[in-house]
């Protein structure tokens, strides 16, 4: 009887979860949609509760003011550092992700990632005095003096994978430098000599090989890339810190295990969290883990080095804490033990001296000039923790103004970014879906068999109407995708309760599509894109021969999101796949999400047809000229 009641209750809760997941939520993302966004995204532009969501911070030169980017609110908040009192709230663009302060402190530059703009704020008036256009999802910014004769603003662009060098007075672009894929975070060396740029998606590589990333090192004065510091087996690289003397650098990142079948989680089986230290003190670059044998410190994001170089502080965004490393102990360990260390979960005992609990989803961290205070932006708590670095304790917490009540969407977002549900807290949704997107990796999930059914990770944007999920189309909705299946085969540990699952599903299904950057202003198509659109919709081939309906692009990739929501065999199956039938993926923002095909075997959209469609089973394309295929690809990127 008790069991029957429990089953009935579970079924009712599950039905509720399904219902909630299929409701169209009012999103908490701010601002109006651009012309390139989808219709669905436009409906989601309605503002609901706007949480501050502090992400990154900067201190004024005298240390009295704290500038805080509030991502979801689309604001720069100016706080009195001592008290945490808000002096001014300044509206900037959508999804501000990075900021830079001029050396004199008279200007703050904010990179608005969804608007493709830079907000320039006059700090004496505390007002936006200019908004500069930028392209490619500006995400990080750094101010550098005297770059080829005048001051410059370096801007890392996540979509265009580059660093723009802007005139710091006018915003005029002077040059662009190629960086890693998903370039996002910038750090200028204290002596202004070098700029270090990291990227969140791995660089393109051979299929089923370990991801490769880099720190792009730029001569800040010359505006020239001087080094690409390789980060082997690393994906998801976040912030970098450089010591005052310039002899020690630290960059934090993920160390995914996407090539090993995910048969269990213990022993760092799915993700490692690590820091690579480099520079003259190290004598090269050395990766060391942050995790322990039975506890993990997920999603290292922010990093700071104490002025006296005694400590490295790292925010662990998925584990709600700050890790403190004793630098002298770390150096002793590195210099007295044989490398590599990345797979040794007992290594951190040699150099980690504290784990400081802070708020939810700690991101940017900032040390006071004297190194006595460490400020931590807790994005999903709307708070800033102030840590006394002598005691390694939080001594005060600034609460940023915003809604007091948590909506279901906000709770869902908190669940999404937390690692506490995976076995021993090893990873969370956001490990594979960085900033609610994707990770550029292919994974070997266990339930299908070891080495079987390798799957490319897909983008989480505007998912409503793209069901079913999984490449085999096996999951009809998000509650099943994120619920029972995830508990069994991903977390390998007790999942969330039904209410949390409903919140999570509502959050995931409501993640909006970012603006499409391939369309022309106003949403129009270029001539090439229009030609590609005609190819996409054609019913006869180049030779006038009718194309069977099931072999036209528009047949499988139908509907507003480019999916018929059905599975087809388009001849892309591999010997390691259990079936050649694959769910038709949506085309939304497909230009971002390489690699392609179900197993990530196509490095580019072109390769889908030039390599993996020899018999025209994946649409009639072998009649196309190179130029025509280019046109088709250009059109697809606009979807």
């Amino acid at each position: 009887m008790r069991r029957a009641t429990a089953v009935a209750a579970a079924a009712a809760a599950f039905a509720l979860a399904l219902l909630l997941a299929n409701l169209r939520p009012v999103m908490a993302w701010s601002g109006a949609d651009t012309a390139g966004g989808s219709a669905t995204a436009k409906t989601r532009a309605v503002k609901d509760a706007q949480y501050a969501s502090p992400l990154e911070m900067a201190l004024s030169p005298d240390g009295t003011r704290l500038y805080v980017i509030c991502g979801q609110a689309g604001e720069l908040r100016v706080l009195e550092t001592a008290s945490g009192r808000t002096l001014r709230t300044i509206g900037v663009g959508r999804e501000p992700r990075g900021l830079a302060l001029s050396p004199s402190g008279d200007r703050v530059f904010v990179a608005n990632s969804w608007d493709d703009t830079i907000s320039v704020i006059d700090t004496s008036r505390l007002a936006v005095i200019a908004t500069w256009p930028e392209t490619g999802e500006p995400s990080g910014a750094a101010f550098a003096r005297n770059v080829q004769g005048s001051d410059a603003l370096y801007v890392a662009n996540r979509i265009s994978n580059d660093v723009a060098v802007l005139d710091a007075k006018t915003g005029a672009e002077r040059m662009r430098l190629a960086a890693g894929r998903g370039a996002s975070y910038t750090t200028l060396a204290p002596d202004n000599s070098r700029l270090f740029v990291t990227h969140v998606y791995p660089n393109p590589g051979r299929h089923r090989t370990a991801p490769e990333s880099e720190v792009t090192v730029i001569d800040a004065a010359k505006g020239r890339v001087v080094e690409r510091l390789p980060l082997h087996s690393v994906a998801g690289v976040f912030h970098t810190a450089i010591s005052r003397d310039g002899r020690l650098g630290a960059v934090v990142h993920l160390h995914p295990k996407n090539l090993v079948p995910m048969a269990h989680v213990e022993h760092g089986w799915v993700f490692g969290d690590s820091v690579t230290v480099f520079g003259a003190d190290v004598g090269g670059a050395v990766e060391v883990p942050l995790d322990e044998i039975d506890r993990y410190f997920a999603m290292p994001f922010g990093v700071a080095i104490a002025p006296d170089k005694s400590r490295i502080y790292i925010s662990n965004a998925g584990s709600d804490c700050v890790t403190v490393i004793d630098v002298s102990r770390l150096m002793r360990f590195i210099h007295s033990h044989p490398a590599p260390f990345a797979q040794d979960l007992s290594a951190s005992a040699n150099y980690v001296v504290a784990r400081i609990p802070v708020g939810r989803n700690p991101r940017g961290i900032l040390l006071s000039r004297d190194g006595r205070r460490l400020l931590v932006a807790n994005r999903l708590d709307d708070t800033i923790s102030a840590i006394d670095t002598r005691t390694n304790r939080v001594v005060s917490t600034f609460v940023l103004a915003g809604p007091k009540m948590l909506t279901g969407l906000r709770r869902g977002e908190q669940t999404f970014y937390s690692a506490r549900f995976a076995f021993q807290g090893q990873f969370g949704c956001s490990n594979c879906h960085i900033d609610s997107t994707f990770d550029g990796l292919t994974w070997d999930l266990e339930p299908d068999g070891l080495g079987v059914d390798i799957v490319d990770n897909r983008l989480l944007e505007d998912l409503s109407g793209t069901e079913p999920f999984k490449w085999n189309g096996g999951n009809p909705g998000i509650p099943i995708e994120c619920g029972i299946r995830t508990e069994k085969y991903i977390w390998r540990s007790e999942n969330y309760d039904y209410r949390s699952l409903a919140d999570l599903a509502a959050y995931v299904i409501g993640i909006p599509a970012r603006p499409n950057r391939w369309r022309l202003p106003g949403g129009a198509l270029s001539e090439a894109q229009e030609r590609g659109q005609a190819i996409f919709n054609r019913d006869v081939d180049r030779f006038g021969k009718p194309i069977p309906i099931e072999n036209r692009c528009s047949f499988c990739h139908s509907g507003p999101k480019g999916t018929s929501q059905r599975s087809f065999d388009v001849g892309t199956g591999k010997p390691t796949d259990r079936s050649g039938l694959f769910d038709t993926p949506q085309l939304l923002n497909i230009g971002l999400t390489a690699p392609y095909l179900h197993d990530g075997s196509a490095k580019s959209l072109e390769e889908i047809w030039t390599i993996f469609n020899p018999h025209d089973r994946h649409g009639r394309t072998n009649d196309l000229t190179k130029d025509q295929l280019n046109d088709l690809v250009e059109y697809l990127k606009t979807r």
């Binding site: 022993h267 044998i293 076995f423 007790e494 999942n495």
Partner: protein, 466 residues
């Protein structure tokens, strides 16, 4: 009850609480001679004239050869928790502290059975029964329990629903495996011998509540360890405290090897109990001529403060009658197969050092009913050290690495098991839990995703698991 002050740690000397004969229906209850406070906790403890903590694990024998009784110690009194029982031991308090499961004998002729006591109505019900002894029950999340059943091969762990249904054998070796705690991550901490499945010294192991993932807690196998208990509060939350007999030590998350605990050189019986303020209640005696009594150990302090003692009985296996955190439930992901798959990423990796030659093949032995090793077959090892095999499930197996001449390069010490439908992956051969995998596709999976079938099962029976 008064709170336990720093200076007023109560020494409740139950010197006169005599052990009551097992067939007595009433235990005398009397206040402690000392009238200082007994502290803010209620303790259930096993009281026995003779206690051999390793008898079951080492020999499959009786730990309480002269009887045992669960006592409730509170308000300066000791009372029999189960006066109607001939014998009772192995108390485990439910997470909400409303019920207790225990091993009990209603009459002298009964084997040990698993019972549950309601602390509100004092009603008792039999949870698991059988013709052989069932001991050491522990609550699992999701209304389940784990316990050990006596078999010809020693005590073996089983899990079941709290209504006694869905009994599931967890361990499959020919020496005893007895649960001792349930960790917060949902795994069961159990005692067995090292090497596993063979005679040796006591060691602590882990297994999921579906019997999968068996492994040593740590691989620094030193002196015998038993009586593990995971701390669930305070700065050392997650650490596992255990005894070597003469000393206490701990496993802590950052370290691959145990670390010592400052405590007097005495004899420690087994698991500690942890108070809500982070103090430990330990069962300790001066030497093997004396009896185990309860003492309080404050965090960081080396000294012990006497708490309870009984001149005629050992007071062992203390548990506190307080709510405690519910561990995470383990969602079993076992496939419906009769065999198991095992993938090794690189057999050359080991804590035991270099192999001294290039392994080219691996042999699987399975242990038969009489303990005889039966060779199940040989599978190739790739040049990167990987192999992929289908193995017998739910029985003792072991691996031996061979060179090109078929000579043994390294043989596994002891035995282990893989559950039916389990897909297990090892980083190497005895690499220890501190070694995470390299991120690369093992060569064996590039050659074939179908394991070499060494299960010995007929093809139809071995279906599943490519």
């Amino acid at each position: 009850m008064r709170p336990l002050g720093n200076r007023s740690i109560l020494v409740l000397l139950l010197i006169a609480v005599a052990f009551v004969p097992c067939n007595s229906s009433q235990t005398r209850s009397r206040p402690a001679p000392s009238q200082t406070s007994a502290g803010p906790f209620s303790i259930i403890v096993s009281a026995a004239p003779v206690y051999d903590p390793l008898a079951a694990i080492q020999r499959g024998a009786e730990r309480f050869p002269q009887g045992v009784r669960l006592l409730l110690l509170r308000d300066n009194k000791a009372e029999s928790l189960l006066p109607g029982f001939f014998a009772s031991a192995d108390a485990s308090v439910s997470f909400d502290a409303k019920t207790v499961i225990f091993a009990g004998k209603k009459t002298a002729n009964d084997p040990w059975q698993i019972w549950e006591l309601s602390l509100t109505g004092h009603s008792q019900r039999k949870v698991i029964s059988g013709s052989t002894n069932l001991i050491r029950p522990l609550y699992l999340p999701d209304n389940r329990l784990v316990y050990a059943r006596q078999t010809p091969g020693g005590f073996q762990m089983e899990a079941a629903s709290l209504d006694g249904s869905q009994q599931l054998p967890l361990s499959h070796i020919r020496t005893s495996a007895i649960p001792v705690d349930v960790l917060q991550d949902g795994r069961i901490l159990f005692e067995s011998m090292f090497p596993l499945g063979e005679d040796g010294r006591p060691e602590l192991y882990l297994v999921y509540s579906d019997g999968s993932g068996v492994e040593s807690y740590r691989c620094d196998h030193g002196p015998g360890r038993w009586g593990g208990h995971q701390l669930t509060s305070g700065p050392q939350t997650g650490d596992v405290v255990f005894t070597h007999g003469r000393t206490l030590a701990r496993f802590t998350s950052p370290l691959a090897a145990e670390s010592p605990i400052a405590a007097p050189a005495r004899e420690y019986a087994g698991p500690i109990a942890e108070t809500s303020t982070g103090k430990w209640i330990v069962s300790v005696r001066t030497n093997n001529e004396s009896r185990f009594s309860l003492a309080l150990k404050k965090a960081g302090a080396a000294a012990l403060q006497p708490l309870f003692s009984d001149t005629r009985n050992n007071l062992v296996e203390p548990v506190l009658l307080t709510p405690r955190p519910v561990p995470k439930r383990h969602p079993t992901a076992l496939h419906e197969w009769t065999t198991a798959n095992l993938l090794a990423l690189d057999v050359r990796q080991s804590r035991d050092g270099s192999l001294g030659g290039m392994p080219v093949s691996v042999r699987i032995d399975a242990q038969g009913q009489a303990g005889i090793a039966v060779a199940m077959g040989i599978a190739p090892i790739e040049s990167d050290g990987s192999f992929f095999v289908k193995t017998p499930a739910d029985r003792p197996i072991r691996f031996t690495l061979l060179d090109r001449n078929g000579s043994v390069l390294r043989a596994e010490r002891g035995w282990f098991w893989i559950r039916s439908g389990e897909q297990r992956i090892c980083v190497g051969c005895h690499t220890g839990p501190e070694r995470a995998p390299e991120n690369r596709v093992p060569q064996v999976l590039l050659r074939s995703t179908t394991p070499v079938d060494l299960s010995g099962a007929a093809p139809a029976a071995a279906a599943g698991g490519r």
